[in-house]
Amino acid sequence: MKNIIALQLLFFTSITLAQNNSNLTVGFESNSQYYMDDEKTGDFTEENKFRSNNYLKIDYLISNFYFGIQAESYEPMSLLNYSPDFNQTNIALYYAGYKSKKIEVAAGYFYEQYGSGLILRSWENRQLGINNALRGAKVKFSPSDNIEFSALYGSQRSGFDVSDASIYGFNSEINISSILKVDTWNLDLGFSYVGRKEVNDNLVFNFNDLTNAISARVNFSKNNFYSSAEFVSKSNDGLIILQEVRNVKPGNAFLFDFGYGKKGFGINANFRRIENMNFYSERNATGNIYNQNIINYIPALTKQHDYLLTNIYVYQAQPQVSFQDPTLLKIGEIGGQVDLFYTLKKKTVLGGKYGTKIALNMSYWAGLSGDFDYENFDYGADTFGIGEKYFSEISLEIRKKWSRSWSSIFYYVNQSYNKRYIEETFGNVETDIFVGEATYKLGSGKSLRFEAQHLWTQDDKKNWTGATLEFNLNSKLAIYANNIYNYGNDDESKKINYYNLGGSYTKGAQRFTLNYGRQRGGLICIGGVCRFVPESTGITANIVLSF
C-alpha cells in the first residue's frame, strides 16, 4: 500500500508541476513464464510454475530537473535462476537530479561508468538480472567543453537493499587537442579513482578496509588511424578462493586497442591482459553466480554472436584467481582479437549488382603464466607470459543482396573452447559451425526469413543441427518457429529437440511477444556477462509498454 501512495504522490506532484517544458513518461516491462513438465527433460520440480518479473519506471522532467522512480515486482517469484534477493514487490530505485551545461547533480540511485568500465560500471540489464545502481550522490562539473570532473559516493544496490560497503569514485576527462586548439589530431586523457570500503573482520590476514583502484586512459586519433590504452591497478585486497580469504594480493589490467578505417574498409585490434581483477562491493560475493555486487565490467573480448548454435560455447572473460586443484590454477587472462570489415564494391565481379559485405573476426585467449604455490594460494604472474590456451575463434560473415527481394547471409565459425579451464569442469571442445540465412521480401511489408545451422564437433555433446523460419505478415506482426536438435549426442535420451514457436506484435513503442517451447539449458550472455539458465519448457510472455 505504501508503494501506491508513493506513486500517487509522485503522480500528483507532477500534475501540479506540469508546464510546457515538462514531460512525464512511463515505461513498463513484464517478463513472465509458465513452466511445464516435460516428458523428455523431466518435471518442473521447483516452487511456483508461474513466475513473473515486472518493472515499472516513471520519469518526470521539468526544465533542468528530473525525478524518477522504478518499482519492481517478482510475483509470485522471479524467473528461474535470478538472484533470490529479487523477490516480492517494492520500490527498487528512486532518483532526482539537476542537469545544466556545466553542472550535473544526481541523488538517490544512479548509474555510472568510468572509461570502458574496467574500473567501474553500474548499469541495468533485466534479461541478466543485473542492476548494480549506486545509491548516494554524484556531481559532474564541466568548466569548459574540454574538461570534465565528476565524483560520486554511494552504496551499491543488492536486491531491494544495498550492500554494506561504501563506494567512492572520482573521474576526469580532458581533451588535450582542443585545449591546444588543434584539429588535425585528437588526444583525450582520462583518470579515475574508485575506492571500496568494507570492514575486514578476517583474523588471519591483514589488509585495509579500503581497497583503492586507479585507472589511467589515453585516446588518440589522426586521420584514419586511432588507438587507445587503459591501465587499471587495484591495491592489496583479501583474495577469496573457495569462499574464504586465502591470501592478500593486488590486481591490474591493461587494455590496448588500435584501428584504421576508410569508406569500404575497417580493421581493429584489441589486446588485453588482466590479473586478479575481480572487484565486488562485498568481498564475500566474489564469484557469485547471480552477477550481484559487481563493481567493474570485464567483458569477454570476442565476437558476440546472434545465432542459436553459435551461442553454445561462449567464452567468458577470466579475470579471477582460482585454485581448484593443482592442475587447474588460474590468475587471469591474456589475449586479443582482430576485426576486419570490407565491402566488395557494387558492379564488380565479386561485388555483383549490390556489393558484398564481409566481416572477419579472430580471437585468442589464454591464461596468464607464472609461478604457482598451490599449498599457500600464492603466485607470481609473468608480465606477458601466455599460459594454458582458453579459447580461440575464427568467424567469417558474408552478406549478399541478390535482387530487390532476395538477400542472404553466410556465416562460418571455428571455435576451440577449453571447457576444463573456462567452466572448471572437464574436456575441450573443437567446433565448426555453419549458418545460412535467406530473406525473401514478398512486398507490402510481408517477408520470409529462413535460417539453417549446423554445428560439427567430436567433443562434448557432439553434433547439432537447427533451423528457423520467420514470417513477417506486416511491419507489426511476426510469427516464427525454430528448432535445434542435438542429434549427435551419444546418449539416446539426450537427443533432444529444443523447439520454439511464437509471435510478436509491435505498435509504436508497445510490444507483445508470446513463445511456447523448450529452452536449452546453458548460458544466456548479453554484453559479455552470462547468466546460467536451466533447461525448461513452457510458455513465455513479454510485454513492453511505453507512454
Binding site: M1, T25, S73, G264, T343, S447, A509, R511
Partner: protein
C-alpha cells in the same frame, strides 16, 4: 495485484503525458567527444534515430537496407539518420571498423552505458524514432524486411 492496479491507474490517467521529446542526454562521437543529443538533432530536418548494436543481426539488416536507399531519401527530402549504438565496452571497439567497412553514410553516436536507451524506455533493439521539429512523430521497434518503405512514407507525409 496492487502492482496491476498501479499500472491500470497510470494507463488511464497518463496517456496525455507521453514521450514527445528526446531527453537531452550526453552521448559520445566515434572520436570520443561528448555531445548532447539535442544539439545533434537538426531543427529543420526530419531526423531518424536508429538504436542499434554491432551484435544485433536485425539492426544491421535494417541499417544495411536503409543505406541502399539512403542517397535517394536524402535527394527527395531534407532528412538525416543518426545511428545510436547501444554497444557497451565489450563490442564498442568494433563499431568504427564496422561502420567504415560497410560504408554506412550515417552520423554515428555512442550511448555507452545505455543512458539514453533507458531514458526512452527502450527494451528491445532495433528501435526507430522519427522526429520532426524535435518532436517524436513515429516509433517502431523490431525490424521486418521492407519496413523501410513505411519509414519513407512517414517522411514523405511529414515533409513540406
Amino acid at each position: 495485484m496492487k502492482y496491476l492496479l498501479v499500472l491500470v491507474y497510470f494507463l488511464c490517467y497518463n496517456t496525455a503525458f507521453s514521450q514527445t521529446t528526446i531527453p537531452n542526454i550526453t552521448l559520445n562521437t566515434l572520436n570520443g567527444k561528448s555531445v548532447k543529443i539535442q544539439d545533434e538533432i537538426s531543427k529543420d530536418k526530419i531526423t531518424i534515430l536508429s538504436f542499434w548494436a554491432s551484435w544485433c543481426v536485425p539492426c544491421i539488416n535494417e541499417l544495411d537496407a536503409i543505406s541502399e536507399v539512403y542517397e535517394d531519401w536524402q535527394e527527395d527530402f531534407n532528412m538525416e539518420l543518426i545511428a545510436i549504438s547501444t554497444d557497451d565496452a565489450r563490442t564498442q571497439k568494433r563499431i568504427r571498423p564496422m561502420v567504415n567497412g560497410k560504408g554506412w553514410p550515417y552520423k554515428i553516436l555512442l550511448d555507452k552505458n545505455q543512458e539514453l536507451k533507458r531514458a526512452l524506455n527502450i527494451s528491445t533493439i532495433p528501435q526507430i524514432i522519427i522526429l520532426k521539429d524535435s518532436k517524436i512523430i513515429y516509433i517502431h521497434s523490431g525490424y521486418s524486411p521492407g519496413v523501410e518503405d513505411e519509414f519513407y512514407d512517414i517522411i514523405k507525409e511529414n515533409s513540406n
